[in-house]
Structures are given as structure tokens and as C-alpha cells.
Subunit: 465 residues, 2 copies
Amino acid sequence: MAAPTPTLARPGLSPTIEAALRAVLGDRLQLGEAIRIQHGTSEAHFAVMPPDAVAYPENTGEVVALVRICRDHDLAVIPYGAGTSLEGQLAAVKGGLCLDFSRMNAILAVHPEDLDCTVQPGVTREQLNAWLRDHGLFFPIDPGANATIGGMASTRASGTNAVRYGTMREAVLSLRVVLADGRVIDTAQRARKSAAGYDLTRLFVGSEGTLGIITEITLRLHGLPQAISAAVCPFETLEGAVNTTIMAIQMGIPLARIELLDEVQINAVNRYSKLDLAEQPTLMLEFHGTEAGVAEQVEMVREITTMNGGGDFVWSNLPEERTRLWKARHNAYRAGVALRPGATGWSTDVCVPISRLAECILETKADLAGSSFPAPIVGHVGDGNFHVLFVLDPDNPAEEAEADALNERIVRRALALGGTCTGEHGIGLGKKRWLREELGDAVDVMQTIKQTLDPQGLFNPGKIF
Amino acid sequence: MAAPTPTLARPGLSPTIEAALRAVLGDRLQLGEAIRIQHGTSEAHFAVMPPDAVAYPENTGEVVALVRICRDHDLAVIPYGAGTSLEGQLAAVKGGLCLDFSRMNAILAVHPEDLDCTVQPGVTREQLNAWLRDHGLFFPIDPGANATIGGMASTRASGTNAVRYGTMREAVLSLRVVLADGRVIDTAQRARKSAAGYDLTRLFVGSEGTLGIITEITLRLHGLPQAISAAVCPFETLEGAVNTTIMAIQMGIPLARIELLDEVQINAVNRYSKLDLAEQPTLMLEFHGTEAGVAEQVEMVREITTMNGGGDFVWSNLPEERTRLWKARHNAYRAGVALRPGATGWSTDVCVPISRLAECILETKADLAGSSFPAPIVGHVGDGNFHVLFVLDPDNPAEEAEADALNERIVRRALALGGTCTGEHGIGLGKKRWLREELGDAVDVMQTIKQTLDPQGLFNPGKIF
């Protein structure tokens, strides 16, 4: 852990800067300590690093004005969505102005006939899906937390549906971005594909707020499936659950979700969400398609499951049952953290080629056998992505050191298997040391681009590099 | 048309440069006029612009050595695949060294268990698919021409299967790239997804050889479908064919291919490929899935077809029949050009949101009614992308001017409908004037990135900007 020390004691904004910001924002500039601390506190194990002030802009023009003021006064700009990022992306390591997008939460346009929509960055995925339901549409990217679309675009989020519907990389059609010099660009038109110049959309997706401030996002949508079935299946062994996943992916079965929870995670979920699932390695599955198509997928998966020591499927076909199941899955992180009162969470995030997933998870599980703290495993295993959640006593530095060593082993193992240190959480503060080990000189190219587009280092400083 | 004048009369390489290149390449440096002209001649309407020399590198190390020599002597570097690009991407507008990748055509690794492979840039898509067939796999991106994977990555190619399988943007997992300063980077690991820093893979995909030289490509593959059915369906009207497409896409039917050919194009295809299709607006369709899944898709599409004045499906279920059908479709460009002896082709390439496709095609068709030359229409309509092929007398400047005016109307119409000037052919020389109109200040950001990564303007000068 190389997290900077907290900056609670910063002197705050100069009267000049405050006046300039106030002229744009009025009461929507907040300087109170409680609000600043809230905006500098992540859900994960990072130190609290509050900004000097929190702005609540209402439109792109205000964001432009704020960026210009910050540029003129060399004040860092940190975009803030729902605060659910897991690698310290929101931490104000140099203080600065936090842009809280909660007032830019309008769904600007839905084009059901084109299966797309345009939203402001503060729209949350649950808000969007509630709105879309009446159009017969849904937005599939689902990282668990009720994150904002802006935050999800910034971290290239994915989650439980990515195995079928892809990640934010595939979901974003176009972005409106405020650059460090105050210019506003649109990265693409609304057409489904284009070969018009460099793919700026993908450059900003996953750039964690370091290259520009996203103020509008156009997203691809999908029609609600005719039929949806969800099931839970316990396995005798972790290996059986992982091998079921590998075989299903290799056979090309178009699963909508295939999620692994080990017995430690199931125990945590049972306690937190008041369920009584068998405390065994478990797959949670969802099938989308026509009635006949879903039935066919289920039959194929059931055969594979039986071959690998899986038990009976427990079905959740009613919408409210499915909602309960996936809500429990979404709360896995909080359920894990709740295993120890007062604990903080630290989630690993490696992703490997699917053929190497069994060895990667099983060797990791062996690593965890002697750990001093609970460490449940949960995974978007259809993508080769899984998380170990270290449930740490924040007052015990020895545990943090132990977690750090375990994480190092896990990351090194994944890299050796052709994998990545982060499947979906991003680099933020927590993975900076691994980025270079993973991508070598490519990181220089990234830094060159950062330097070119944000020479002052205004946007979300201290992240990624 | 703002194409530069040909540079046939260039003085050629200095003895110093030639000696330096010869030391790397030996006989694999070619200076003969015929070879240079061949490498400066595109399939489309651009003037011949040959390089000063053609290199046939055999590995990444040689490419590095060549790039360093070119950098030291300020000689342009133009990568060359199969020469099938349609916007003049191969033209050596400043002369320079053409890197012909035909000797870097090895399939380096296939990982059937991970559904991916790694290839050199000179591998063609047909070569790759012939190799993959024994593994039960296929690579779906299919621009018609037997292009190289390197060229397809560089132009962000798509084609007939993109409606289901995406474009090169989705197909490329990672690239090895030689930068302008001679460094070599890998843009990503082989994991299926990653949130590790900026998406350099997508930055190089579609950059048309202007940012770096691609020397290895790792691709996502797909399992061969259990069942494949292909059909041809003629329509009473162009509108009926387009509306069938729109409805099928809006209903979420997972069509593998849905291709439109107007009656002019069908006439050309009949002549060129010796078929006897009804000379009406026609859809060519392909369905992938399980036996039951394909049957279900066919039933849904048939209902839509009937509603829109479609005739009977003519089925091609045997592999050899399917091959014949798609070969005819792939030859549509050449079939169109063959409508007039000695003609050259000029293909437009707009792509619009699917709901606007009918008006875009129908108004375009009306534009073409009075044209002085044949102008068949063919389209990857499931993506909202279609091409008008202007079949021009190369000795008649009035026809070129007429084509230019028609193209301008088509592009402006597409932009007004939220579309792009290029769905899949790229900017090259031919669309430079439209890029700015489409994306405004975003083009400045692209140019800044170009300037940063290739300050000397070494790589494929004169393209995109």
C-alpha cells in the first residue's frame, strides 16, 4: 500500500478561487468538512483524502466554467459519481475540486427504435433501467453497486452480465467530454459503428477521469429478453464449479450470467441477506432468450453441471425471486465486509484467459488457507474474472501487510497466466505498481497521451500513473 | 477529389538509405517500377501514388530496424496488407518505404480453449479461417475482400457478420506495435477483459497505420455454429427490404448476416457470378445457432418479410451453396465495376442509426435516378451501413465531379441523421474533408495524439488528417 497520507488539514481554497467558483455555482459549492470527508472516502481500504471543495454542476457549460477556473488556479479536478469505485479513484490526493454529478442525472433521450439512449453522468444504472423498462429495453452492464453511468464509463466497468453483453467498452457509443483547456468534444455520432478516425470514445472509457470530464454518455441498449431464468447450483468442489464455467464458455452457450461464490462467500451472503443457500462452492446462473432458447441452454448447462459434481438447480423464475437472488449477489461485497464488525474491504480483481481460470482460482484458494482474516471469493467467472475480498481490521497494520503480500501473489500469478491485474475495477491508486509490470513500455504511451491532453495534470491527479 | 498528383517521377532513394535498408533486407528490398506501382495502386478511384521502395520484412525486429532507418532519414513508412482498402490508405503521397507484410503471414498461436489466436499482420482472413476450421472455430469479421488481419485492424474493418459479431474493434484483444521511435509495445494481455489503463488496443485499431506499425494481432474467435442456414429473399420494393431489416434488428433477432442488394447490384452480380437471381431489391440472410434456434429465427424473419412484400426464401443450406452465395456477395464490388469495361469504382460508406436507414437509403436512391453512370447499392443494413458504388469512366472528369457531388449529398444526409461518413472503410485520403464536419474539435484531439506519438509524421502521411 502506497496510499498518500490524508489531507484533512489542508488550508482550503483561497478567497479568490472560492469567489470564482461561487460565481458559477452559488450554494452549489460546498466547503463543509463533513461533505468533503464523505467525498474523499471510498468503500475500500484507502485512507480518507477529501477535496478542498465539492461542486454540484448542473450542465456541461458549468463544468467548462469550473474546469477553466481550476486550470487558471492550478486546482485539481476530481469527478465523482456514486462513490462506489474500489481502487481509490475518488481520492483527492492533492485536494482540489470534486465535481459531484448528482445534479446531472437526467435521461436526455431514449431512442427505442435505435436501441440507444443519451444520459448525463450522474444517472445511476438502476435509475436508467427503471426508466427503460416501459420501453421494453434494458441496459445490461451491472457492476453490482448502483454506480453512476459516468463512473462506470470512467472505470470501464463490467460485472455480472459482461459474459454475454460485454463491458462499458462495448456499451458506450459516444461521449461528450470537457477537455483540460475547456473545449467540449463529442467523440462519435450515434451510428452503431464507424471508422471515422481514432477511437476517442474508447480512449476516454476507462481513463478514470484523468483525460477529460465526461458530461454526456450515449449507450447501446438491448431489448428485454422474452424469457429469463435464473438458477443457483451448489457444487461438491470449487474445481467442479470452475470447470463447469470453462466448459460452458468453450461450448459457446450464450449465458447471460455465470457467477461463482465460494463457500465462505455463500456463508457471508446467507448471513447478510438472510438466505439459506447450501454453504458450498456455488454458481448463480441466468439465461436470456426465447422460451425455447432458454430451455435449450438450461439443458446444455445441466449436463455439464452433472459431469462436474453439481447438485440440483434451484430455480428463481419469478421476477421477485430473481431480484432477491441478484440483490444478494450484488451485496456480496458488503456481506463479506460484514463478516467482521468494523472491518474494511480490499477486493482483488484479476482476470485470466478462461482456460487458466481453474488453476488461478485453485492456487489462490490454497494461498488463502492460512490467512489471518476472512477472504471470500466471488467471480464473474465466464469472463475469467474473480475477486478475493480481504476483510481487514483497519487498526491492524499486520493484516494490511498480509493482504498486500497475498494480492501480490495473486496478481503475479494472473500476469504469468496471460491475465490482467484488473478485470474491471481499474488502476486508481491501488494498482499503479502493477500496471507497469503488466504492460511495460505501453504505460509510457499512456503517460504521453495524459501529458498531451492534460499537461497541467489537472484531472484526477495521482491515479493510474 | 483532392487526391495529390502521382509521384511516379520521384528520384528514388539515396544510395545511403538504400544501403541501410539493404543491410536489413537484402533481396527483400524491391525498387522496381512495376512493384512500386502495384503497391501504390488502390482498388478504388485514387491516383497511383507509388512508394520509393517496397520492403518485405519477416519479423518485428526487422520492422524496428526499418522504422529507425526511416526516422533517421525522414522517409515515410506505409504499411501494406492485401491492397484492398477503399479510401486510398496505401497511397504513398510523399513516397517513402512501403512495408509489405506478405512474408509476415504466420499464425503464431491458436488457443481453442480460450477462443483466441495470435497472428502476424499479413495473414489473410481466408487463410485464418481455413486454419481454424479443424479446431471447430472461426473468425467472423468479413469485409468481403480477402484482406489481411493487419489491414483489417488498421481500418477497423467490419462487413457482413458485424451485425452479430461486431467489428475489428470488438475482435482485437491485443496488438504488438512498433512506435515511431522504434520501441515495441504490447497493448494488452490475453485476458478477455481488462480495466488496466488507457485502451491502447482500440486507439491503434482504426488508426490506418498513422500511429504505429502493427506486427502481431491477438483476436477473439468463435466456435463454429452447430447450424447455419442462408437464404435469399427478393422484395417488391427497396423500402420493403429495408423495413424488414429494421424490424428484425429492433426485435433483437440475432441474425448473423443481413445484406441488402438493390436491383442494379443484383443485375451486376448475376452477370459477374453467373447467377439468375430475380432482379429486384434483395436481402441475403444467414442464421447461426442451434438447429432449434435457427429454425426459430427463420420463422420470425419470415413473418416480418411477408409483412413487407418479400417473396419466398431461396435456401442455401449446403456448405457449397452457401459458399457460392457469399462469394457472389463478396464479389459485389468487382461485379459492379465490371458493369462498364475499363471503369473504376468509388464506394460511398455512410452508416446511420437503424431507425433512419429507410429514409437515408430511399432518398439516396432517388438522388441516383438521374446519374450518368451505374450506381448499384449494397449494404450491411443490419448495422445501418450501406455503400453506393459509382462505376466511373476514369477518362471522364465530369463523371468524377458528378460522383463527388452525389457523395457530398449522401454524406451530409447521413450526418444530419446522426450517422457517420464512414461505417467501415476509414478516412484515408477520400474522407478527410468529412471527418471535421462529422466530429468537429474532436479531430484536434486526434491530431494532438498523432503529433505526440509520431512527431515527425513518419507513419502513413497524408491520411486521416
